[in-house]
Symmetry: C2
């Protein structure tokens, strides 16, 4: 009927709001956004081509927050700093990793970041193909890590729906199966795995450090 002056930004903002409430990206729906903004579902489609387009815009917004200062440090220090900045942003927005998995880096902001990372490795003397493979590898690692964390957070937080109760039972099952079969190596790490959940920073740092150490070692042989 009347113009409601809904902007793209408003839709994105509402989407983030919904996402931050129940954590996981699958809980975000166009219909919920429409209800929250008190607009018709079809109005959404005037502002965005489809749901994917919205996710792209959201992913871009998240990555825009990653701050990177130019640096003259060694290549591995630079790489580490950038991924730590990405890590910090992912920590702030628990759904960020999921958003990256669901989207494609087809925006200026995200491509600049990738370009920057590859450039650092090129400057360090790595071959082009190797450089991009390495960046992809770290990206896979960090995305996988956060997908895992997001999953675990989902398991802990919501014991509400029957679905999530089922998932909680599964975690209980893990322990009892491990005990029955004497999977002692697994059990020795299980308890702590249950408690140090949110201290994921050492987890991330460790993996990143190991990878960079291995990479450093490879350099003299390949340029």
């Amino acid at each position: 009927m009347v113009k409601k002056d809904i902007s793209d930004t408003q839709i994105i903002k509402t989407a983030f709001k919904i996402l931050s409430i129940n954590g996981t990206a699958e809980s975000l729906s166009i219909r919920k956004i429409a209800a929250e903004l008190d607009i018709s579902v079809s109005t959404f489609y005037w502002h965005f081509a489809n749901k994917q387009a919205l996710l792209q815009a959201m992913a871009d917004d998240v990555m825009a927050e990653v701050l990177i200062e130019p640096s003259t440090e060694a290549w591995d220090v630079q790489i580490k700093a950038i991924f730590m900045a990405i890590y910090q942003t992912y920590l702030k927005y628990p759904y960020a990793a999921e958003l990256m998995i669901l989207t494609v880096p087809a925006t200026k902001i995200r491509l600049r970041l990738i370009n920057q990372l590859i450039q650092i490795l090129l400057d360090a003397g790595f071959a082009p193909d190797k450089s991009s493979l390495v960046i992809e590898s770290i990206d896979h690692f960090i995305t996988g890590l956060f997908a895992d964390i997001a999953n675990e957070v989902r398991l802990k937080n919501c014991a509400l729906t029957s679905q999530d109760n089922y998932m909680r039972e599964l975690v209980g099952q893990m322990q009892s199966i491990a005990q029955e079969n004497h999977y002692d190596a697994f059990l020795s790490t299980f308890d702590q795995h249950q408690h140090v959940q949110l201290a994921s920073e050492p987890k991330f740092m460790l993996g990143l450090d190991i990878f960079l150490a291995g990479l450093k070692q490879q350099l003299p042989h390949h340029n």
Copy 2:
């Protein structure tokens, strides 16, 4: 009405069939399985508690195919061999990685595998907490890699629906944005990235080797 003698195994088999046709896990629905088997949707729920339970069973079936022989080799050779076996299985079933992301390793088969990996690191002299973190890291890496590959395969294969056309456009956008902004480092790796797609084995091996090299280096300082 009449008994149709539908077994759990039959449902799983049909689910795999549907999954292998259109690749991605989101295309799998209980309603499609029911239609294919010519049973009522509600019949499914007599055989499985819910969709998650089906996915758990499927994930377990996939991992059951990972063959691991006992070995007396060095720890890093053993670890590599196991992850290569996992890699081979994931290659065979393109939806396997997605299945692992969506499920929890709450079964005898999957827990045994994790236990085995941790045990190898414990025997090598790593501390329990570090051992499990390392295994998780590699797991994140491999899962992330395959999620990425699955995504790319999806982009290439299906140019059918409007959704996928939109995604294809995005890939085109990546290139033009990179060109406009002179993201040369990115561009230098883009072309080859487009062609050597399915040769992901070197990609995987490289990442794994780098990680293991870094890990090896850390050992003397930490036990």
